[in-house]
Symmetry: C2
Subunit: 332 residues, 2 copies
DNA sequence: TTGAAAGCGCTAACAC
DNA sequence: GTGTTAGCGCTTTCAA
């Protein structure tokens, strides 16, 4: 932030006032064409760009939004899901000429004061973590605009989520329709709404078809590949002939366990995942999975946040995005 | 950024001046114990935190640093390598109470003006991309503090890198020492210094042992799993009995291709990767690979940047981190 | 040890 | 259509 040209200097060079330069910079009306022309030329030549700290102070708006993924989820940050979400959020910020601040570290308690500082961020995207996280409740008590990524456990929260229950239902129904009898599930962390909702969808589909829910056919992982592998190892003892994994990474782990056991997919055990992430899907056998619109989720969340920033947090906004079953090889 | 308590308000409540409150907030000397006590109590009660835009304007320092990974690399952002690097950078910022701004999108040309705005960032971490990227050259012409992540193709650049040549050399030598004759390589994008350096290490190791370099044993991927798979498919025609892949993702793809061809690892074909990323390594067979200290790389880069910000870009700083060969199952 | 006052660079209300 | 001026909230001389 070295010494540099400022409005004043441009004004002198163009023999006009600071205000006029400001008007030109911000594309406001009421500047004569000749003057605008002259000032623009000088701005061009000098490469002048208004100082953002000064503008933020004056405008009470920084054009920075934060993305917060706190500790309880950080271990999973290496999941390609987050990379993709992050990318879409970043792209949307770029498109609207906003800056994205990233908060990956920190316990909900210690990170909170950093999120509530004045003069840094206009608003925040809060990635859902464990249901018991206190951060959401705390944020609700502030007047800071924020949007939740996932289904919140509190009311009065604006959020964007995907239809996890329907997705899991689709996946399970698909397996049922393939005449499989013993349909296992590898759940994600059930202390997250995502994990719980996908489990719910599985349960619902079974119930609709009058298939009893059997404990020994249900394992719990934490969305990681290795946890899917381990859960499947366990489930193999119960001889399932199909398995719904709550995300693609765990499905991939399950496939590995099934293949190592000398069983074939989908002949001996059919597999369906959830996410439709290219790296997980493209291995062989190609994964049948539930596609969720990650990019749209990121974009919607950012745009919803801009709306909250501009128009206030009332009324509360919800967007739940549709999912789609993509049938490939692993389900037969 | 709603109306809120400011220094002035605290000052009134404590019956002191703004200056005194500022001194207390910034832990400066020359405030009497009683006054300090009194002011602190009120700050505590009100939850006052100084406005960062105002502070930035005054101090000419924002305590924000940027991480820039531009378009040419963005497709690879889903590589767990970047997730891990990102995480370590984020953690280090957190530790030093700085904010991290993330720039994932944008052509080098269009992103440049956004990086050079005054009053936004104190400095920048620039992830290496394609060698021909013009961003590095442009940054060099500015007075903005920055540190390059990877080996730069220009001189006068402060950077942090890992010893890619030695790593690839270690991997290849290891395969040679196992008495393999036909040692293939799956290179990463050779238009990146990382890809080129790892190729260089492979070449060097062969030469040292008097093994001729054979074109038909060398494939090129782009660091993605699928590209490793495809490159291996091709290479299998040349009947290699070992292969060095320039990263773990490609190694994983190669393993898949080898196994699908009905060959066993390491018996028929030995495989060595590069990165030592848990998700890639933990599948079976466990991957022999070159471990690079990603977390240390992130931390070093951030700390180097702080140093550049504080003390100027001269002298130029370099840190090249050591790598280590981790022998597991896939190399026999 | 404390307070008064200037000013960081910008925008916008108001006056001309 | 253009300029003057008053701050935004903070830190920091400088004076008391």
């Amino acid at each position: 932030m070295a010494a540099h040209v400022d409005l004043e200097k441009i004004a002198k060079m163009a023999s006009v006032s600071r205000s006029t330069v400001s008007r030109v910079v911000n594309d406001q009306a009421d500047v004569s064409p000749e003057v605008r022309q002259r000032v623009k030329k000088i701005i061009q030549e000098t490469g002048f760009q208004p100082n953002l700290a000064a503008r933020s102070l004056r405008n009470k708006q920084t054009d920075i939004i934060g993305l917060v993924i706190c500790n309880t989820m950080v271990g999973l940050f290496t999941d390609p899901y987050f990379a993709q979400l992050n990318l879409s959020i970043s792209q949307t910020c770029y498109k609207y000429n906003k800056t994205l601040a990233l908060y990956l570290e920190g316990e909900p308690d210690t990170i909170f004061p950093r999120l509530t500082r004045r003069g840094l961020m206009d608003g925040i995207l809060l990635q859902a973590g464990k249901m018991k996280d206190s951060l959401l409740k705390k944020m609700l008590k502030t007047d800071i605009p924020f949007v939740y990524l996932g289904r919140p456990t509190e009311s009065g929260v604006s959020y964007v989520d995907i239809d996890n229950v329907t997705g899991a239902h689709l996946a399970t129904s698909h397996l049922i329709s393939m005449k499989h009898k013993r349909i296992a599930a590898i759940c994600g962390d059930l202390d997250t709404t995502t994990g719980a909702d996908r489990h719910e969808g599985y349960t619902l589909a079974l119930r609709e078809e009058g298939i009893p829910y059997q404990e020994e056919l249900v394992g719990e992982g934490d969305f990681s590949e290795i946890s899917g592998y381990q859960a499947m190892l366990q489930l193999l003892n119960s001889k399932p002939n199909a398995v719904f994994a709550a995300n693609d990474m765990m499905a991939r782990g399950a496939i590995r366990a099934i293949q190592e056991a000398g069983l074939s997919i989908p002949h001996d055990v059919a597999v369906v995942g959830f996410d439709d992430l290219p790296p997980a899907v493209s291995a062989s056998p190609l994964l049948t999975t539930v596609r969720q619109p990650i990019n749209q989720m990121g974009a919607s969340a950012v745009e919803m946040l801009f709306d909250v920033i501009q128009h206030g947090s009332q009324p509360v906004r919800h967007t739940v995005l549709d999912v789609e079953l993509i049938i490939r090889e692993s389900s037969g």
